[in-house]
């Protein structure tokens, strides 16, 4: 899922400075699951925003709403018109939602309420971890299912660097060395051959370095 976290309040206060009426718009997709932009977070942000404005003596009307998703056009339909009633719509969806509102709803000013951070898994309540970098050319079949692109600090393709000690990454002892994990997994799976073969230089175009990415499935096109 896409992981996000609320932007610092000062940043949100800054971007809404002088505004009289805003809509805090949540999303029940990924950001709700990772407790960054669902109904609860919408109410917290709205309340905090009112409080912050109260302290500075400037009134603000903050309305709250949460859509099923913000990345499908049909859900954004009502916002096309209603969005114009606000000085701004603070979207608490991931960056996709913000962009999509900007694209679909002309005349609506949309602001980001969260920082979209990574594609991750929910390790336990309140803890999420990056697992995928969306690099567009998956090598997980060669690495025991563990991603060196997303989970190695240097995105190494050919084994652990000299900083891997005791299964930990050199950049932070809290970070496990994914190459140690790959080594263990491949050894367990009797696929050591993968560790001996040189992985050639990667083509980074599918990772977005070839320009914005797009996917088309012909059979679904209308």
């Amino acid at each position: 899922m896409i992981i996000a976290e609320r932007k610092p309040m000062q940043e949100i206060l800054g971007m809404t400075a002088g505004m009289k009426k805003v809509l805090v718009l949540g999303c029940r997709g990924c950001v709700a699951v990772c407790s960054a932009g669902g109904d609860k977070e919408v109410s917290i942000l709205s309340s905090a925003l009112r409080l912050g404005r109260k302290m500075s003596g400037e009134k603000i009307e903050v309305l709250e709403e949460t859509y099923v998703r913000q990345c499908d056009p049909e859900y954004l339909e009502p916002l096309r018109e209603s969005g114009k009633d606000y000085d701004a719509v603070i979207s608490m969806a991931c960056g996709v939602g913000v962009n999509f509102i900007a694209d679909c709803c002309r005349g609506v000013r949309v602001l980001p309420g969260v920082n979209t951070t990574f594609y991750g898994a929910n390790l336990s309540s309140g803890e999420w971890k990056e697992m995928c970098a969306g690099c567009g050319s998956c090598v997980l079949h060669l690495t025991g299912g563990l991603c060196p692109v997303a989970r190695c600090a240097k995105s190494l393709s050919n084994g652990p660097c000299g900083g891997s000690v005791g299964g930990k990454c050199e950049i932070n002892p809290d970070v496990p060395c994914v190459w140690q994990g790959i080594y263990d997994k491949l050894t367990y799976l009797r696929q050591e051959q993968n560790l001996r073969e040189i992985t050639p230089i990667r083509d980074w175009r599918p990772a977005g370095h070839g320009g914005p990415r797009r996917r088309i499935r012909e059979d679904l096109l209308s």
Partner: protein, 137 residues
């Protein structure tokens, strides 16, 4: 000037769990506090308390909010007061981000049916916000 305004009679809201809400107006009066300034919200358990409730309390008139729950290891619902404590902590973080003194919210723990710690908490919170710049001008 705003900065010169200060709170003399702050409104304070207390969220108390069923087991720590034994305080009443008399007890407050006995402690020399103006009971009308206090509003007590009784919850079955502070574990039920939501972050937004504390924020809304501040937004809706309170100059300070405190929460009283069971002693950490003696919570009737095992982890209720611990959860509440974390949420209070989270609210403090938001207040800090908003440049509001995080001391305006606090978590207190009290034994079952004990009045004194709750009265103390009320006194403490009044002391804290007296003299601060008011939220509600």
């Amino acid at each position: 000037m705003v900065a010169e305004m200060s709170i003399s009679d702050p409104k304070i809201i207390a969220f108390c769990c069923n087991y720590t809400a034994s305080v009443d107006a008399d007890a407050l009066k006995a402690a020399g506090l103006v009971s009308e300034n206090f509003e007590l919200v009784r919850l079955p358990c502070t574990g039920r308390l939501e972050v937004v409730q504390i924020l809304d309390a501040l937004d809706n008139g309170a100059e300070a909010v405190f929460v009283t729950g069971c002693l950490v290891d003696e919570c009737h619902n095992l982890t209720g007061s611990r959860r509440a404590s974390k949420r209070v902590q989270y609210v403090k973080g938001i207040l800090e981000e908003l440049d509001i003194d995080p001391g305006r919210v606090e978590m207190f723990f009290a034994g079952r049916g004990e009045t004194e710690p709750v009265v103390e908490a009320a006194r403490e919170m009044k002391g804290r916000v007296t003299g601060m710049e008011p939220i509600h001008k």
